[in-house]
């Protein structure tokens, strides 16, 4: 690949200031939120419009150069790690909110708009429910690529439940409109599989999001327990009772300690688990549900309950939870986050197995998780300065996701497969399952220029479409026959 030639071409298509090639400038983009992986791209481009994205992608297509699209780079699976000799297309300059239509319940945004900006733009009457912990910086384009979740997804659903339509630049540089503000479009639901495709099918340049009215009220409490099992049982009892909280989050002893040091939320340090429950909805419903939740916590041996008396106290509870990852820096020089999902009823069994593994490896594992939907975030703590510890941590993390899959769960609930978990894909999917993924990939990107080397465990070519649709030139000429 002639990088020099591409650079000149991009500078002509965009502007010289928005094409980066100096090693110092490129280094900024070598990793995403998972610092384990670092690759220097050949070039970084910063398009500002869908036309510029098309032009860049088209140029790459003609030159046969692979590319990776990236938003704010907060991903935790290495999904936005560049490819060597490839182009990194950074979409953070496309940050306009294009349309707000609250009577019809949708907004239209460019991919670089941050998650929090969407809700801010439609407050106080409406909000956009998916709320990844990185919501202040992470971009909607990245959320679409990863099908991002967050604490409130148990009740409200994930990014995929809120994307109505997309304009997508396909890897050949063409632009297609999939779905739209209307809820039903004839034909295949291609928005469905595009969301969560981790940048391997194209680049969304215009995103139609469904937004909903803010619930009448929200009430939040934290209950403290001696053991994780008690907290887990309380969650199961709440769900079995038919109450659907907006969010349920559990933190273990180590996580509580870390967040307490970081935020000073006032959590006791001598407890084994903290359970955050948030009920939202109509005031009359929350009254009923609230009494039930409190009774269930007490029945399961809650040592104490802290109820947020106002919005400031509610925000403090959430601040403690959402800073859990960052706060781990206070306990350990480095950590590795897992994202496995289990059926909620397997929680005690899986936590026990994680504890056993941690003991065997002599590594500390902190646990923070979205308890309602069984999404675990074990944080494997390690010191990169100690030889072999990083490798040990990674091996342990790998065993933890295997435990999750064996329990009937998933490799990842919201962080994505990316670069980091692709080697585990065969643990969850068979050969034919992976083939089916590849079929979709090849329909969108037969040359596999979009984010190559991610998601799928082994690289494979697409090949020609078999069948009678494409007549071979020799057949047309009457020279050869098909058998």
């Amino acid at each position: 690949v002639n990088v020099q030639h591409l650079r000149v071409e991009f500078e002509r298509l965009l502007a010289p200031s928005r094409v980066l090639s100096h090693p110092h400038a490129l280094r900024t983009y070598a990793s995403d939120g998972l610092l384990l992986y670092e690759v220097m791209p050949a070039l970084v481009v910063l398009p500002e419009s869908p036309d510029e994205v098309r032009a860049v992608v088209r140029t790459c297509y003609e030159a046969g150069v692979p590319w990776v699209a990236r938003g704010s780079g907060t991903g935790l699976s290495g999904g936005a790690v560049p490819v060597e000799e490839g182009v990194l297309i950074v979409l953070t300059r496309m940050r306009r909110i294009l349309e707000i239509d609250l009577p019809n319940g949708f907004v239209v945004v460019e991919p670089g708009v941050t998650n929090a900006q969407v809700s801010a733009a439609i407050a106080p009457t409406h909000f956009y429910p998916p709320d990844p912990s990185s919501q202040i910086v992470c971009s909607i384009g990245g959320n679409v690529a990863e099908n991002s979740g967050g604490a409130h997804c148990f009740k409200f659903g994930f990014t995929t439940n809120y994307v109505l339509g997309l304009d997508v630049v396909l890897p050949d540089g063409s632009l297609v409109t999939l779905g739209g503000a209307e809820v039903d479009h004839p034909g295949y639901d291609l928005v469905g599989p595009f969301v969560g495709s981790e940048g391997t099918l194209g680049i969304a340049t215009r995103i139609v999001l469904r937004v909903i009215p803010v619930p009448e009220t929200a009430r939040t409490l934290v209950a403290f327990f001696d053991t994780m099992e008690q907290a887990g049982q309380a969650v199961s009892d709440i769900v079995a009772g038919g109450v659907v909280p907006g969010a349920m989050e559990i933190m273990d002893r180590l996580s509580i300690r870390a967040t307490e040091e970081a935020t000073g939320a006032g959590y006791p340090l001598d407890v084994g688990a903290a359970l955050i429950v948030e009920l939202d909805g109509p005031v009359v419903e929350c009254e009923v549900g609230w009494q039930e939740v409190v009774a269930i916590c007490e029945r399961n041996g809650a040592l104490g309950l802290r109820v947020a008396r106002d919005e400031a106290e509610r925000q403090l509870i959430w601040k403690a939870r959402k800073s859990a990852f960052a706060a781990m820096g206070r306990l350990s020089p480095s950590y590795y986050v897992q994202d496995g999902v289990i059926p909620r009823t397997k929680l005690p069994e899986v936590l026990g197995r994680i504890e056993d593994l941690a003991r065997r490896f002599g590594v500390r594992v902190a646990n923070v998780f979205h308890a309602g939907d069984g999404n675990l975030h074990p944080l494997v703590l390690y010191d990169p300065a100690t030889p072999g510890e990083a490798e040990r941590a990674q091996e342990l993390a790998g065993l933890i996701v295997e435990v999750c899959v064996e329990a009937g769960g998933s490799l990842t609930g919201e962080h994505g497969i990316g670069l980091d978990k692709k080697r585990y894909m065969p643990k969850m999917f068979s050969g034919p399952d992976l083939d089916a993924f590849q079929r979709l990939r090849c329909a969108f990107d037969p040359d596999q220029l979009a984010n190559p080397g991610k998601v799928m465990p082994t690289p494979r070519l697409c090949g020609e479409v078999p069948g009678p649709y494409r007549q071979h030139p020799l057949e047309r000429a009457g020279v050869a026959e098909r058998f």
Binding site: D184, G192, V195, G408, F437
Partner: protein, 383 residues
């Protein structure tokens, strides 16, 4: 054509593999309640019935999930889940003898009033096992509520009308059955007032689980159903919103019959059923178009989805009526569901999707079913 009484995943896959060997087309069918939908096509070489795949494989009450085979009737599944106080949030019309199966509902993405509060088929399906045209059996998605491993193929298969493979098994997300329900009903003969009322209900912080409208011969109503321990209190809030929009309403706590009628009115043995996907703030426009055409209408006011039932007309007259509705509501998608063959054969029942999107859909079809053996020709663009 012989139908296998107890098909298995392997036998379905085997049949597809055999059909693919010589390019024979296969029609997939279960309850047969929607077999008239889609483009009319020539009689296929083979018919494959999934009706015998009728096991509820797992009901994990504690996890609010279930794995069901494609031939399980929705009514039977709901009865089973109901014993644990749970339900799958799908309530499309069930067709003759409540014959609609999970596989058929998922393949057509048919829906009912619960869609307002719970989402559509795509939002209930967590995972799927599908036999592809080459005879491979593939699983995608998972058995847990939250999962982003691999492409979300269940959403691709949902609503694909069996043109990408045969759905064998579906993993569903379940929800608790609400303890109480109550419905605000407001009558009106003014489409504009109905639109204002439904927009107010839709924007209210007290969210209904269903928000519907109905219109017939100049008389209409808006219905908002609330669910929960304090459903009637919630409905009180809805009633005030309706009254502020200038309608008078009442609260009905024994509301099952009302909603059964809404569901049933999405189908017609006689007449032409059009599904219109517009915007919520276009409700009055949709009603006026229906009224002008002598059609009745029901639908999801909060989602902009309507089912118009045009009086039965044959051939050219029916085609002209459909085209008139399409022209009046353009660019909103208008799909013909039920209708006489003489009409369906003379028009594109799907309408024309975005050209770029259609080209991409064709490429998807080619990768999954290159010989077009699965439900050949019934889908958009003749896919």
């Amino acid at each position: 054509m012989p139908v296998e009484a107890r098909p298995t995943h392997a036998s379905v896959a085997g049949l597809l593999r055999a059909a693919a060997a010589d390019g024979r087309s296969v029609r997939v069918r279960a309850g047969g309640t929607k077999s008239g939908w889609g483009h009319p096509v020539a009689e296929p070489a083979l018919e494959l019935s999934t009706a015998g795949l009728d096991d509820i494989v797992e009901h994990n009450a504690g996890d609010l999930t279930a794995v069901v085979q494609a031939g399980v009737r929705l009514a039977d599944a709901q009865a089973d889940f109901g014993r644990a106080g749970q339900m799958v949030a799908l309530d499309p019309p069930l067709g003759a003898d409540d014959g609609a199966t999970i596989g058929g509902i998922v393949a057509t993405a048919d829906s009912g009033p619960l869609r307002h509060g719970y989402g559509g088929v795509r939002d209930q399906v967590l995972g799927m096992t599908v036999a592809l045209a080459d005879g491979s059996v593939t699983r995608s998605g998972g058995k847990v509520i939250k999962n982003v491993a691999g492409y979300d193929l269940p959403k691709l298969f949902a609503g694909s009308f069996g043109t990408l493979g045969v759905i064998l098994e579906v993993t569903l997300r379940l929800h608790p059955v609400p303890v109480r329900r109550a419905t605000v009903v407001a009558d009106s003969d003014d489409p504009q007032c109905m639109e204002l009322a439904s927009l107010a209900l839709s924007a209210s912080p007290v969210r209904p689980v269903s928000l519907d409208f109905a219109w017939e011969r100049g008389a209409g109503m808006v219905l908002a159903r609330y669910a929960g321990a304090a459903a009637a209190d919630q409905a009180g809030t809805g009633l005030r919103a309706v009254e502020e929009a200038g309608l008078s309403g009442r609260i009905d706590e024994d509301d099952d019959a009302l909603w059964a009628r809404q569901r049933a009115a999405q189908r017609a043995a006689d007449g032409i059923v059009l599904k219109v996907s517009a915007l919520p703030a276009e409700l009055s426009r949709v009603i006026r178009v229906a009224h002008a055409m002598g059609a009745s209408a029901v639908g999801r006011a909060g989602l902009g989805l309507s089912w118009l039932v045009l009086p039965s007309r044959e051939a050219a007259a029916g085609v002209a009526a459909v085209e008139e509705v399409r022209a009046a509501l353009a660019p909103r998608p208008v799909v013909v569901l039920d209708g006489p063959g003489s009409v369906r054969e003379k028009l594109d029942v799907w309408g024309s999707p975005d050209a770029g999107a259609l080209a991409l859909m064709r490429r998807v079809k080619q990768r999954f079913d290159p010989l077009a053996i699965c439900n050949r020709g019934i889908f958009v663009g003749g896919i």
